[in-house]
Symmetry: C2
């Protein structure tokens, strides 16, 4: 979108400010994201009154204009009434009189608009002849009897419609007013400022969603509310897509056939202005279900050509009058690969025959028909093996179903007339596990991948699988907004987008906080899909990991509930759907799994607490049900069934048959007090046969943290204890107490008194029954590296963990720039290179690199693990790579190895990060510099974990996210 400013827009300049500052900037709700605001609710000298004093300006539209435009005007009419309670008249352009009116029309289709253009009152040169362009402009005396008008002109049908909905948003009607019950703020008066807003149309020509995997949620809901997935439901989908400036839909197809189930559906789609297609594996506008219902013989062109040809001919003939994109080629039945015998030659013949059918049934010049070949899963392999389709067919490249684009056009492919598109996923049914329940899609990741698609010119079609639609509101809007104008939304504006979205839906007061909440929960969900979280996911004994993760959820939960309490009641339903439910449900899910993990760990340790954790699991499982019930009861039951998707109980990739709570144990404590011990870093409860003496990870002068030990009970009666250390400067807290179930003790040091050097100290825990436990701790306080003397990282506990953005130096050059993607990925953020179209670099010398200064106390072998985004080799001749060296070593190439095996890919997408290794030998302790050299674009580095452990000195301990970032000695 190009904004031609009439007055300056504060929104385009919005910085990421705190809540208070933003609240001033967003002092009125209601606007289109990223657009200049031209509507106000307080009169100003130059403004025109859309509604005032109980009178609404009429909405004028030509009878000759598109029915879809006139229908959109009726939505605008309803929207004005939603806002003001006053229903404006809708009238033909000729003959109406009013001090102010809204004139709507399509260039070349509306005599009204064409007349204004001809008369010179309206300059449509910025949109005329463009695809889906529009402009809004306050025009003086446009027509006889009309003093002023807001003219909404489109270059074509959808251009005009988008212009109409732009006004709807500006007056305060969210695109989600129906789909998410976003409340409309009542306004007694609505004014239009002098504006000339010209939008020259979208970057991506077809921008759509795919309703998929639609049972049980969407199906059950639609059955109850509309009697099925039919036109009564679809009109809501069409309207939503248009309000979001989308234009394209793959309809639900699990047990549904869009064109057949309800013939009104395709007719209305066309009327509304939605370009329909059938999904990636349903050729020639025919749903798979149609074949399931009517097909005879095998779904195999080599055996059943005649029947299939007729089947397809019937399909394209049926829909010939509707705006469509025709899917070509074929996959196996039921979205499965075709038989092994199928081959490239056969598929090329199929495509040729399909185009012959199109020529016969639709248009002899088939190049005028928008066709697409989806290179999904194994179909891409056919392409790579040489299969080709005619130049006018769009190649629809796909992600790996987990948001990582598998392929983008290379330079030659970018010259194709048909261009390229992307089929992307926010929801998926398949391995390593379905994710159908909730929004797990961080915008950061969508931007990083779709930016590649834009830069590589895959801009003909963007379609995203949104599952049941409903819990994906936020990323759907981002996807379509970004598709409209990627240049307007650089990575750094993700925060702005979110805050604008939050302000539009809930008002400016809490916008920053709500933006943080939605980006926060999707970031946490993006670390690992809830369906893949298990009791073992987060370490209960290392790096306080489970506690830290759960604290993040608890923080989001408390903040979300605080926002809810502050919001007006009218906003509660929308807030629950869009913000609160996913946070409550996912926080609860994480609490459940941490409790289940503890239940398992504690049962093996023999802890009295085992049963309390089991009770927590059961309670959380009940809470989950209660949250679903609240969702289903929203707005008088409007969304009943929309949360029917089971999220607990996965044992394979396929969804469970019902919600199944993780299994929990019960423990029968021994009679009497039975003291036992657990220590940080170790899974076992002590005493236990064969365990080495208890020892906690080292304490160090740089981080000055604490280490925990837990006295617990294997018996049913409490005991008391005293805890003492053998050093005056080593503190253990509490120093005494009673243990009914568990008491955690923290060990810390007074570093002003700790001897310089490495010192081993002991803490003795003496229970009132039985033998004492003696825990060893190493205190690291080296003479050779005093705190404050060195700005780099320090090796502690036989490892170094680094957040990638915390480089000591990022060295770029003219061709390659390092950029930090804040909040990208699992922890702090990512670091990557731009531009993404750059050719690979040869690492070494002065070439671009990140440098990390590190002080090592040990020498010898070091294994460096890089956590990088699980991106794929999106160019066939450019495997994603970077290079690594320590100090003056020759850089070693590291392949991200994106697709080398199914298990490695499953691990990477499941973990939300790919781990790649390099090994090095450090000749001596002391300062070293780790260098990460740029090679290919598209590599996003998130974390670096250096393991210097040996068989005798444990290095990196098991955990999901890796160790807490290592200390820096400071400067």
């Amino acid at each position: 979108m190009t904004i031609i400013p009439v007055s300056s827009s504060v929104l385009r300049l919005i910085p990421r400010l705190g809540g208070l500052a933003l609240a001033c900037l967003l002092c009125a709700s209601g606007y289109a994201l990223g657009s200049e605001r031209f509507v106000s609710f307080e009169p100003a000298p130059q403004d025109a009154a859309l509604v005032a004093a109980g009178v609404a300006a009429p909405l004028l539209v030509d009878a000759a204009d598109w029915p879809g435009v006139r229908r959109a005007v009726s939505d605008l009419q309803a929207d004005v009434e939603r806002v003001s309670g006053v229903k404006p008249a809708v009238a033909e352009a000729g003959g109406a009189t009013a001090p102010f009116a809204v004139l709507v029309g399509t260039v070349g289709k509306s005599p009204l608009i064409d007349g204004l253009a001809k008369s010179g009152k309206l300059d449509v040169s910025g949109i005329s002849g463009r695809w889906e362009a529009f402009q809004l402009q306050l025009v003086e005396k446009p027509l006889p009897g009309i003093d002023r008008a807001l003219v909404i002109a489109g270059s074509d049908k959808r251009g005009t419609i988008y212009g109409v909905y732009e006004l709807s948003q500006q007056i305060g009607v969210s695109p989600w007013y129906w789909w998410a019950d976003v409340p409309t703020v009542h306004r007694d008066a609505v004014y239009v400022r002098p504006v000339r807003l010209v939008d020259d149309g979208p970057t991506v020509k077809y921008r759509g969603i795919f309703l998929n995997d639609e049972a049980p949620a969407l199906s059950g809901w639609a059955k109850e509310k509309f009697g099925g997935i039919n036109s009564k439901m679809y009109v809501h989908v069409f309207e939503l897509i248009l309000r979001l400036r989308g234009n394209f839909l793959w309809p639900a197809m699990w047990n549904n056939a869009f064109n057949e189930d309800d013939p009104e559906s395709p007719r209305l789609a066309d009327e509304y202005g939605i370009v329909m297609s059938t999904s990636h594996h349903e050729p020639m506008l025919r749903a798979q279900q149609e074949w399931a219902r009517h097909g005879s013989g095998p779904w195999d062109y080599s055996k059943n050509e005649t029947v299939l040809r007729q089947f397809w001919a019937d399909g394209v003939r049926r829909n010939r009058d509707f705006e469509s994109i025709v899917t070509l080629a074929m996959r196996g039945d039921g979205d499965e690969p075709m038989s092994e015998e199928s081959n490239v030659a056969l598929l090329e013949k199929i495509v040729a025959d399909q185009r012959a059918i199109l020529a016969k049934e639709v248009d002899p010049d088939v190049t005028k028909i928008q066709q697409v070949w989806a290179l999904y899963k194994e179909v891409q392999d056919y392409y790579e093996r040489g299969m080709r389709v005619p130049d006018d067919v769009t190649l629809l490249w796909c992600d790996d179903n987990w948001g990582n684009i598998r392929r983008l056009p290379n330079a030659a492919e970018r010259e194709r007339a048909g261009g390229a598109g992307i089929y992307y996923h926010f929801d998926y049914v398949g391995g390593p596990r379905c994710y159908k329940w909730i929004n797990t899609i961080p915008l950061t990741k969508v931007w990083e991948q779709m930016n590649l698609a834009w830069q590589y010119d895959a801009t003909r079609i963007w379609v995203v699988n949104v599952g049941d639609l409903k819990p994906m509101e936020f990323p759907i809007e981002y996807f379509l907004t970004f598709a409209w104008d990627p240049a307007a939304w650089p990575y750094e504006r993700i925060g702005e987008f979110s805050e604008q979205w939050a302000a539009r839906e809930f008002g400016p007061e809490h916008a920053v906080e709500i933006a943080a909440l939605v980006n926060g929960y999707t970031k946490l969900n993006g670390r690992r899909k809830p369906e893949m979280i298990a009791p073992e996911t987060f370490s209960l004994v290392n790096y306080r990991e489970a506690e830290r993760v759960f604290a993040e959820w608890a923080d989001l939960l408390a903040r979300a509930e605080k926002v809810e309490a502050a919001l007006p009641a009218a906003a509660h339903d929308a807030f629950f759907q869009l913000v609160l439910y996913p946070i409550q449900a996912c926080a609860n899910l994480n609490e459940l799994y941490v409790a289940a993990g503890r239940n398992r760990l504690y049962s093996v340790q023999g802890r009295f607490d085992t049963n309390r954790e089991a009770a927590r699991v059961r309670q959380a499982f009940d809470t989950d049900a209660a949250l679903v019930q609240r969702y289903h009861a929203l707005a008088g039951g409007k969304w009943n069934h929309q949360m029917d998707q089971a999220k607990f109980g996965y044992v394979t990739w396929q969804e469970p048959a019902a919600e199944v709570m993780p299994a929990v144990s019960a423990l029968r404590p021994n009679a009497g007090p039975v003291p036992a011990l657990a220590v940080e870093g170790r899974p076992e409860g002590m005493p236990v046969w064969g365990a080495p003496p208890p020892k906690v990870p080292s304490l160090d002068v740089y981080s000055q943290g604490t280490r925990w030990v837990e006295l617990f009970n294997r018996g049913d009666a409490p005991y008391t204890f005293t805890a003492v250390s053998d050093q005056p400067w080593l503190k253990v807290t509490p120093a005494c107490g009673e243990v009914k179930d568990t008491v955690r003790l923290e060990i810390s040091a007074d570093w002003s008194a700790v001897p310089v050097g490495n010192t081993t100290a002991k803490v003795t825990l003496q229970p009132s029954q039985g033998r004492p436990f003696t825990v060893t701790v190493l205190l690291v306080n080296p003479a050779e590296l005093r705190p404050g003397s060195f700005a780099g990282f320090v090796e502690i506990d036989n490892h170094v963990a680094i957040e990638a953005p915390h480089f000591s130096r990022a060295i770029g050059d003219k061709q390659t720039e390092w950029r930090t993607l804040a909040d990208f990925g699992r922890t702090l953020g990512g670091v990557t290179t731009f531009p993404v179209l750059a050719a690979p670099r040869t690492p070494g010398g002065h070439s671009p690199r990140l440098e990390y200064d590190i002080h090592f106390f040990s020498a010898g072998d070091a294994t460096v693990e890089f956590h990088v985004a699980p991106s794929l080799d999106f160019q066939p001749d450019m495997p994603l790579q970077f290079a690594v060296s320590f100090d003056d070593e020759t850089p070693t190439l590291v392949k991200v190895g994106t697709w080398e095996s199914l298990p490695s890919w499953e691990k990477a997408v499941g973990d939300g990060v790919r781990r790649v290794m390099s090994t090095h030998t450090l000749g001596k302790p002391g300062r070293h510099t780790l260098k990460v050299w740029a090679v290919t674009p598209g590599v996003v580095l998130e974390r670096i974990v250096i393991d210097t452990g040996t068989a005798r000195r444990p290095g990196v301990r098991p955990s999901y996210l890796g160790p807490i970032e290592s200390p820096r000695a400071g400067k």
Copy 2:
């Protein structure tokens, strides 16, 4: 024991009769197992009154006799009072006058006995000079003033003591009167019949038990009752051992030191007549704990020789005056292997040095000192690698800790002066898993292995690890009884032994039933230790396995509770300890695991029933606690702590820290009725993605059974169904109904109407909601093999399962006899060859073999799986083998392969059976004969499972015990 009949003994001839017949034979309780009964409670003309009319015959014993003998007489005095309420006088032999007296004395130590022998009134030639021999004889006018006497004479101290306790048993005092609260039946009068019973002493010289792994049960109990494991506790152990005709003890040593903890313990052991030693890894009469407490330096002779020599010298000097067996050599500290550096030469030096210490401290002629070298675990390897000890040292061969003897003396070794012994296990702490809780030892297995030991002359020492002692009462008595006189107790008398034991403890009325109960529960426990049972152990979908196993437990449980109800209250405590508790607790444990397995299976299938099974698990876990509480409350809390051993929650071989219930899931059913299906033979619930159409295993005309399918609910509201078949002769029951949770339907055929040949039929289940389920079943009714036409087995469902004793022919010869061991092993019984000392046979021709006639409908590859006892290669040059052929094939040798790898051994002992395979190709369908050829003795064959399945036709399905035995076509 040699019985010289005075009157004929019914007991020696006891057949295995039903309860009623036996009740007549066992018309009075109280007798020694296997002994002639010479005590009655009704006067007969020739009888003498031990007690009558309130007067008890005096017990006369010389002051010069062994203190241990006089102490045993005081036990007899108490026993007479226990029975009659009348306390007999104990007096010196000289000067007492009585019409009838009991004269007790030791040949060569008792002037009284020696005088009777000298006077010709008593012929002691049958015992004199023998080891532990004794006789009981009614002698007229033995002494002045004594008209008649029952003379109890022993060849030595223990011989006399055994004679005294023989009388105690005969009058009705069980050896277990104290240890298991076996009630004594009150008798107003007790008579002694004219008897001359001469027992020439035991076959096994030293017969003992090892109290081991004694925490938490024995330790906790002893601490509460006696203040620790001290002499106050041990006197009960000593007395028990002597009453059971044992003579030997390895004392508890986990945190205990017998000689040091209470110096009265060794002194009293010697006085009682118990030969003490220290366990297999504690040399020179010093407990491991003594080293732990006082040792300085490493437990490593190569590094700490001087200290160790002094440590050992102190030990043997301390105990030099007590009857002992000195353990030689050494293992690593804590019953672990020594370091890898240890070697044969070092160990030989250790033994030589230990013997030099013995020569110095105890007796210059060390060959007079009973010494033993325990060839436990890796120590046997030292022996096999050439290490030797002097000829007078007894070699103590060991089992694998799981009841399978690893080695027996070969012919040369049988000539050694020191002879050989066996260290055996009823309880074990180690891998694959500890079994410490309950009696899992079938007598059948003890017989089979200890018979080998006897036959191979390993009869110097038999010592068995009995854990805490308490739950092992029954096999302890069997082990010591068998050790006394193996020849008297052939395999076929196990039933008699059990019934006699049951009759002695609980009276004759329920003896047969109680014998069946104890042998029944140990057989079921012998299939798999309770500690190793898991929710997955028994198949829930194949062969109705879990149901069948649980039905066996339910049967035992019902019968045991019925017996309890019929027993007098005074017997309840004993019955609970000896019979009822293990049955209730193990039945409950099995129910718990089956429910836990169902919970897991059902949760994946999405069954409404999931939660009910979870509740069952929780209830069973509580029941387990209640049973422990009842045990602990017995006899006023006498046995508190004896069942403290955790049995649930194993995750490694080591015991869990507390009782941990198997984890169970909860399921949240979907809203409304959601019909689903499960079928026999398949784990999945349907509908499910990717499953083939439902099909049950075939029905056949020979077995004429039924197949099940289950309609279940994935929802929370009931649905109804109708079930119809597509054939008039195929029945499905019930034909309609309502499914709230699950309804099982059985499919059966009217075979008089089923077409001849193979017919595929369909059953259609139409739920009131959703699509029908159609289940296929194959009906096998072949023309070529009509029922009644063939006596052999028939291949059905692509397999043949055979109980080994169901051979068509057992063909032996003069050297080799086939014998069926009824009830041996996991199912019907075992088949093996005798004699066990026979040399290996070369299979083929007319050599001994079992033949199984089988009709196959298929041809091609067949895999034959033999289930054999997990016995080991007990002779170094004779690996256990048999041979297999079909028809006229050359027999193929099959090695039982007893020790080839740790995992295979762990699997075999865990399963209680070893599976070995042979593969064959059957050229054509029709009749074949499977031949199992004898090769080595010691192989016990239990089952044969022939798998004729292919990739397209499933053969044997997963289960623990294997398929139900295949039908025989009958004759």
